[in-house]
């Protein structure tokens, strides 16, 4: 499905990040093409979320190059990420409990009418449309988030990725707290994103989910790339081996960055 000759939509090269003495990422590479779901897997603390936060504009890499559609970019803020067409769903449910579903969907990119005022009606209409497309079970788009179950809230979080025509979607543990049926819905949605031509980065602990939906699996271990696998053909044990370190990736590229 991936075409190596094409320019990847998202390309990260030699990304490093330190938090004080802790080296979270050391020379990590990641490429995602259009129509592709790349799963980013690894043990706790492998640096998955750190990498996701860089794409989302929450963190800046210490070193390394980020390119979107072949153009070098810096992503200094979440708003900048949005402007570049990156939508992110964070692990810790970045939603406002006091706001209703519509306000949450459009938070930070509210629609305005001709006078520059909030266009609540149009937003509500679009919100209903999007949730209908997602076939999510939300009682009403006017209820505050605090009135929804965890699964419903996750649906809202996912639905946010459909607003504002993003090109790249980053999902950080989107199914972590969901029931089997809800998980299935989310996975169908991820496939829908791929069919729309988006580049999807899926961070997950759940190998079943990953193998069900991803095209390629990138393993991170201790802040370094530890193997890239074809999701269709690679054996489960092989991926687990890369995650736990039983299998070593034969790419020595990260060592140069490690001591920097």
């Amino acid at each position: 499905m991936t075409d190596a000759t094409r320019v990847p939509l998202l390309s990260m090269r030699g990304i490093s990040k330190r938090f004080g003495a802790v080296e979270a990422l050391a020379g990590v590479d990641l490429e995602v093409h259009r129509h592709e779901v790349v799963a980013l897997v690894g043990d706790n603390g492998a640096g998955k979320s750190t990498l996701a936060k860089m794409v989302a504009g929450v963190l800046s890499p210490d070193t390394g190059l980020v390119e979107i559609d072949g153009v070098p970019v810096s992503i200094p803020s979440p708003a900048a990420a949005r402007a570049l067409g990156v939508a992110t769903v964070f692990q810790d449910l970045a939603l406002c409990d006091n706001l209703d579903v519509t306000s949450n969907l459009f938070l930070g990119r509210e629609l305005r009418d001709a006078h520059g005022m909030l266009d609540d009606e149009r937003m509500e209409e679009e919100a209903r449309q999007i949730l209908r497309d997602l076939t999510s079970r939300i009682p009403s788009v006017r209820v505050p988030l605090s009135a929804l179950s965890k699964g419903q809230r996750q649906s809202v979080a996912i639905a946010r990725t459909l607003i504002g025509d993003p090109r790249i979607v980053v999902l950080d543990e989107p199914t972590a707290s969901l029931s089997v049926a809800q998980t299935a819905e989310i996975l169908v949605h991820i496939e829908g994103l791929r069919d729309l031509g988006l580049a999807v980065v899926l961070i997950s602990h759940n190998m079943i989910d990953v193998r069900a939906v991803a095209d390629r699996i990138e393993v991170l271990r201790h802040g370094r790339n530890n193997g890239s696998f074809d999701a269709r053909t690679t054996a489960y044990e092989q991926i687990i081996g890369a995650i736990t370190g039983a299998v070593r990736a034969d790419t020595p590229r990260s060592s140069a960055h490690a001591v920097s």
Partner: protein, 411 residues
């Protein structure tokens, strides 16, 4: 409450066929349901004191005085509720009122500037004070409690510097802001001030019109609207309330107090700001989940900064009203004003944790405190007991609110 209805059912809901259960709709009202409760509490308290005072509470001149005496609380509560919704607090407004009031009085008496210029200087100074505190809160990241606690001391000190001794002898036109009423240029109708009646009528018409237009907009987008009966009952209740108030005020000695017009304009403008603008939406978002708002691209620092500029500006307005009412600037002016404003917000349903609260609620909260004050004074209750009673009302109002929320939370 836990039944779920698919949103992917036929979208245009046929009128009269509700898609959402009553329980959900009440849930959706959320803040609204509490708002109605607070309005109800105000009505009960007014009726209670009306009976206890043998009808003296609602005498026309007392009602006019109620607004003149409590205008400062309402003005400050508007700014305070925005600060509280964003998850902050402002302890400095009382001192800022004294400081700005002193400067305003000084510019009129010592520099002989026209009162209009003095007012503009006062507003600008208030906003400047707000910008100062907003800078420390938003861009340095010091908790607002600390910044405004410091501000409380700093500006009380500066007020003492400016107002060494009472600055009296202010222009009559300036004093009229608080003590005067709109001129009666349309005569009387059965002893009722026609200007007041006109304003009341226009207010009702404007409210009805905006409600109908909002409803029509929802209809246009095939969105759910409340039942026709409920809709018209709501408008009728509002019209009745404003109507009664209008008639009472039109019978008062002066008609419509000028401060009531000021407060009215501010309430409308700020309700609009909080409800229909991106800035207002972001204030609620920050109060609900600051991190989520930031991740969603909300510029939380900028919002924080402007919230404090705004309450500084409103403290300037309150300073002008307070100084005009006293007819002089004194260094002790505005003592405990911050507590009045904060109490009004919490009685009015604002959440201590932020994210919840409305302008209308804060105004009703201020009115509840004002009615208590006036009722207890008419009953000549000892001021020390008045204070104790008001304290208990604050405590019980918030306790009631909390218990309600807890009950709603355990579905």
């Amino acid at each position: 409450m836990s039944t779920t209805t698919d949103v992917n059912l036929p979208a245009p809901n046929p009128p009269g066929a509700p898609r959402v259960s009553l329980g959900q709709r009440l849930q959706g009202l959320g803040g609204n349901a509490r708002q109605y409760g607070i309005f109800g509490a105000l009505v009960v308290i007014v009726l209670l004191f009306q009976v206890l005072t043998d009808g003296k509470l609602l005498l026309p001149n007392n009602v006019a005085a109620l607004f003149q005496q409590n205008a400062y609380v309402m003005i400050l509560a508007i700014g305070m509720v925005m600060v509280i919704v964003a998850g902050h607090i402002d302890l400095s407004v009382g001192s800022v009122v004294a400081f700005v009031g002193g400067v305003v009085a000084m510019t009129m008496r010592d520099f002989d500037l026209p009162w209009v210029v003095a007012i503009l200087i006062g507003l600008a100074l208030g906003a400047l004070v707000g910008a100062w505190q907003g800078f420390w809160v938003a861009y340095v990241g010091i908790p607002a409690f600390i910044v405004t606690l410091a501000g409380m001391l700093v500006f009380r000190g500066l007020a003492l510097v400016v107002v060494g001794e009472t600055i009296a002898g202010l222009p009559a036109a300036f004093i009229r802001i608080s003590k005067g009423s709109l001129p009666n240029f349309l005569g009387f109708l059965d002893n009722m001030d026609v200007v007041t009646l006109l304003i009341g009528g226009l207010a009702v018409a404007a409210i009805a019109l905006t409600q109908v237009r909002a409803r029509r907009a929802l209809r246009k987008h095939d969105l759910h609207v409340e039942a026709v009966g409920l809709f018209f009952t709501k408008i009728a209740m509002v019209a009745l309330g404003i109507g009664v108030l209008t008639v009472i005020l039109s019978l008062s000695a002066g008609g419509t107090p000028i401060v009531l017009v000021i407060v009215g304009v501010l309430v409308v403008a700020y309700s609009f700001l909080m409800g229909r603008t991106v800035f207002g939406r972001h204030i609620y978002a920050i109060g609900g989940n600051r991190a989520a708002a930031a991740l969603s691209g909300v510029n939380t620092r900028k919002v924080d900064f402007w919230i404090f500029v705004n309450i500084g500006l409103l403290a300037g307005v309150a300073a002008i009203v307070t100084t005009a009412r006293a007819g002089a600037a004194i260094a002790a002016a505005g003592n405990n004003f911050e507590l009045d404003a904060i109490a009004a917000c919490f009685i009015g349903g604002a959440a201590v944790t932020g994210g919840i609260g409305r302008i209308s609620g804060a105004i009703v909260g201020a009115l509840i405190m004002g009615v208590l004050n006036m009722g207890l004074s008419i009953l000549s209750v000892d001021p020390s007991w008045q204070m104790a009673i008001k304290g208990m009302v604050l405590l019980l109002a918030v306790a009631f609110d909390l218990l309600n929320k807890r009950r709603a939370g355990t579905q």
